[in-house]
Amino acid sequence: MQSNKYIIIFALVLTAVLGGLLSGVSQVLGPTQKKAQDLDTKKQILGAIPAEKEALGDMEAEEILARYNEVIFSEVTDYQGNLVDTNVKGGPMVAEEVNIEKNYKVPVEDRLFPVFKYSANGEESYILPVYGAGLWDAIWGFVALNPDLKSVKGISFDHKGETPGLGARITSDDVQERYRGKQLYNDNGEFVAITMVKGEKIPEDRLGPNKVDGLAGATLTANGVNDMLLNYIGYYQKYFDKNVKGGAVSLNNQ
């Protein structure tokens, strides 16, 4: 049996060594991690466009960043739909630096909303970030709208801690493809977004233009996705009313 003194010293040394090791590693890897995260976000933004998504698989990191700079033009709007040009520090506002997660935690009237405008090969689209709560933790994504602003060109989802094989399936291609071409407005012209139904393998003709097939065993994650789309796409309606004329992607501000 060791003395109390030995035990306390052992515990202190162990804590210092392990703690020092972890914080050291975190310091050293921090910049690389941030780069990886930025790249991943840009991949998700591009990945909302079906044609780009196919090409992403074979591209190197530098190629993806170059492609991103080439085809994406971004701006930031506030809740009232007014464009925001300067950030809190007085510098120029960069849409990629707007932290959606932090914005999600403040009242909706105070949030900033980045808009990513895509234009390439004659194809145009508005890509909107969406953010919400899944079953266990945050879920987010990017919705690419056609220039009519009524239908979805493509979608990409990601999540922090949904159950692998169940809720985590929102990241899989076959789930995301279900959203392509779906309509945000119902037959009466009301904004209803797109609802993922309960149950899976429901035939397309029974779903209609405002619904997509569900996830068996992950209805609560699907509910989170539904709320996220309804809320967040809804927040952008004022921006569209004020800034989008004639239903075309305007790149004039660049």
Binding site: F10, L39, D40, G165, G217
Partner: protein, 221 residues
């Protein structure tokens, strides 16, 4: 020291790298002393991650890595670790290892990190890891402990992979995401909620234990 600790027999100095005694560290946990089916440890993660083959594979590899290195480190420190706080020391080391893996993956393999980070908590709480530290690494030499960690990790892995195989096949008609049911002409196969939910893992695991025990003749005492 725990009563379960296996004391290493006196070994001659020039023991072969994979002597018969050491081979047993590797092969015992695969069948006769399997961590899941015989010792009934690590059941929670066996239920949680086995809906599909791919995440199960990631989990299996992570657990093998963590088991080998935590066994090694604990074994190296075994004479210095105070008996009264050994559990928290083991926990700290396992948690550190897992966090290290997580940080490195986040920097250099972000896609894998996104898949793996969900399992971090599960690895730390996996009773097999601490079970082997407590029962083996605290009382044995480093090399033997590494073998024991590898063996137990493999024993855990093949069971969860087997469970995941049947759950993904019967649950969603796929294996590693490949549509098997569609390929054999069974187009109308619809997702089986029983297999997708954790209950399915209990059932599959029950069958595996049944088949295994009827072959080995193992009986609980």
């Amino acid at each position: 020291m725990s009563t379960e600790t296996i004391e290493a027999p006196v070994v001659k100095e020039s023991e072969a790298l994979l002597s018969r005694r050491r081979r047993k560290f590797l092969t015992d946990p695969l069948n006769d002393d399997n961590p899941i089916t015989i010792q009934v440890l690590g059941i929670c993660s066996a239920l949680a991650v086995t809906t599909q083959m791919k995440p199960t594979m990631v989990m299996a590899l992570s657990v093998i890595f963590v088991m080998i290195f935590s066994n090694l480190i604990i074994s190296l420190l075994r004479n210095a670790i105070p008996g009264r706080i050994r559990i928290i020391v083991q926990l700290a080391i396992v948690a550190t290892l897992v966090t290290l893996v997580n940080e490195v993956l986040k920097a250099y393999a972000f896609d894998v990190y996104k898949q793996l980070s969900v399992f971090i908590g599960l690895i730390i709480t996996n009773c097999i890891v601490m079970g082997r530290l407590e029962a083996f690494a605290l009382g044995n030499k480093p090399y033997d402990s590494v073998l024991d960690g590898l063996g137990s990790g493999l024993g855990y892995s093949w069971i969860i992979l087997a469970v995941a195989f049947f759950r993904e096949l019967w649950g969603s008609g796929k294996v590693f995401g490949y549509d098997v049911m569609g390929a054999i002409g069974f187009e109308s196969f619809s997702a089986n909620g029983l297999m997708v939910s954790p209950v399915g893992a209990f059932i599959v695991l029950g069958f595996i234990i049944w088949v295994q025990r009827s072959k080995t003749g193992y009986v609980e005492h």
